[in-house]
Amino acid sequence: MTALTSPITRLTRFTRRPARRPWLDHLVLAVIGLLVLAAIFGPLLAPHDPYRSDPSLRLLGPSSQFWLGTDEEGRDVLSRLLVGARPTLLSALVVVLVSTALGLLVASVAALGGRWADEILMRTCDILLSLPGLMLALAVATALGSGLTGAIIALVVAMFPATARLARGTILRTLTTGYVEAAKVMGTSRVTLMLRHVLPNSLDEVLINATLQIGGVTLILSGLSFIGVGAQPPSAEWGAMASTAARYVTVNWPAAILPGLLITISVVAFGLLGDMLQVRRDPTLRKGLR
């Protein structure tokens, strides 16, 4: 509506300039690109077999043969880091994808399925939300036995209720918009209504939320592996690597520090990516634009 939009919102249409710090955006994209490359091609790029131990090569410092040295079983640290990108990042991605999909499904059913479905689903989510997430993850992981699969399932269970709540909110808001009502009046079927009009216009927020979650999940999964509940040795998962190498930090520091550093970089990069997406969607969030 021309008359009722504020000059500010109208202005943003003209002033949608590239982000204020384009180099940071580029850096974030570059880092994420590298991480993704490592996750896909890591095993091909690794100069040595990451699992072959050789007692004669234990805990060597960086050299021309082993750029980042070797660990306590004589395995090449660089190769293990490259190979480890996959279990670390992929498992985080799986957690986020599955919990987001599950959350969206629950939210759609709750929003469209009438009052009873809504009550039951949302109260269930409330109960799950009231349990402390990490404890839940620990409990499920213990029940299912230690291992990455257990940790992944546990995290999905801990995370999907929050996504469901968020998605239900945006879906309900989208349901009141003019074009959804217009489609209803026209006699559009429920499923078409949902798939064509409601979900595409509710996804933005949920997807941004998912991106922001990837970093956090990486951290939690690695944390679980670090304390021995997630990925188990000899897996090259970064958390597990950091855990075992921590004991030898004085002898070969890269083996202990680098997995942690990579985890940190991933967490920050995905967090910033989420911010970037959010700003793209709503330019007024940019600093100094008020």
């Binding site: 021309t2 008359a3 009722l4 504020s6 202005l11 003209f14 002033t15 008020r290």
Partner: protein, 312 residues
């Protein structure tokens, strides 16, 4: 009468778009000037430039109030103008109020900032609400913004704008969001308050009809430029710019059929895709070749190549 506000050659840029392109305006004390235009005409941008509210825009030219240049004034000095010497009312009264504070406190705020005592400020706030035709103003002071109707909120916003006795009131589409009957009422209130205080009013609106009975002078804008300015009677009786004429013909009036309603062809030119020459020429029925290439200068009362400039 001396000029209170003088805008000369104002340009406002946002990014690489020129939102306002060469605006000139003079406002005297006690005068009610309506700035009329469609969306994208730059009327609100002009008004907001006066208090430099949008930090994203770049301003050039000159805006003088009582001789002092507002455009180059340090932010700290300008702050003393906002609220005190310049009162402002916006379209959406809900956005002018903090939702978690009672309105009385907020109406009195401009006085409290300037060190007026609590009791005195409260009393003045009550007076102002009363002047705005709100019954039992004392009780309303403790109400929260959402507890008031739209019309009442807008009147409270006007009370807030006028409480520090400004010399200039900028009202940006204050009646647009209101119901028809409330529109008339709010307009009358602004008009009366202005007369009583010898206040200069800059009234921004897209609605010519609302202007007719209330303004002293009217300035019509199109695509960031002023196209015609005159006292209200002359402008309505004998508009000279083709855009003003077309606009008047496009407003539905009581007692006339659809046949007499003449639509303007095409789409309003936005600042982002402003045509060369006179911005109105693609929609203008009487445009000649020159209109497409040369920007007409604003002479006497209108900016149009086809208007005869009377010799002085």
């Amino acid at each position: 009468m001396s000029a209170l506000l003088e805008i000369r050659d104002l340009t406002v840029d946002a990014g690489d778009v020129r939102l306002v392109d060469g605006m000139n305006l003079t406002l005297r004390r006690g005068e009610f000037l309506a700035l009329v235009g469609e969306s994208g005409s730059g009327k609100s941008v002009t008004a907001r430039a006066i208090t430099r509210l949008d930090r994203r825009t770049r301003l050039a030219g000159s805006i003088r109030m009582d001789g002092a240049e507002l455009l180059t004034m340090p932010e700290s000095e300008l702050r003393a103008y906002r609220g005190a010497r310049i009162g402002m009312v916006f379209q959406d009264p809900l956005s002018s109020f903090n939702p978690v504070q009672p309105i009385g406190r907020q109406i009195a705020e401009p006085l409290l900032i300037r060190g007026v005592g609590r009791a005195a400020a409260r009393k003045k706030a009550e007076e102002m609400l009363g002047e705005m035709g709100i019954t039992r103003p004392g009780e309303r002071l403790t109400a929260y913004p959402h507890e008031l109707s739209g019309g009442m909120r807008q009147r409270a916003a006007i009370a807030m704008a006028l409480i520090a006795e400004p010399e200039l009131l900028i009202a940006d589409e204050p009646t647009t969001a209101l119901d028809v009957r409330m529109q008339a009422k709010v307009l009358k209130l602004i008009r009366e308050a202005a007369t009583a205080r010898h206040l200069a009013v800059l009234f921004i609106t897209h609605d010519l009809g609302i202007v007719a009975g209330n303004a002293d002078r009217v300035c019509v804008m199109y695509s960031g430029r002023p196209v015609e300015e005159n006292d209200v009677r002359t402008l309505f009786r004998a508009p000279v710019h083709p855009y003003t004429r077309d606009l008047l013909a496009a407003v539905p009036r009581l007692g006339r059929g659809v046949g007499s309603l003449t639509a303007i062809p095409g789409v309003a030119a936005t600042p982002a895709n402003r045509p060369a020459g006179c911005a109105y020429h693609p929609r203008c029925a009487v445009a000649v070749q020159r209109c497409a290439t040369q920007v007409p200068a604003f002479e006497a009362r209108a900016a149009c190549h086809l208007v005869e400039v009377p010799a002085r």
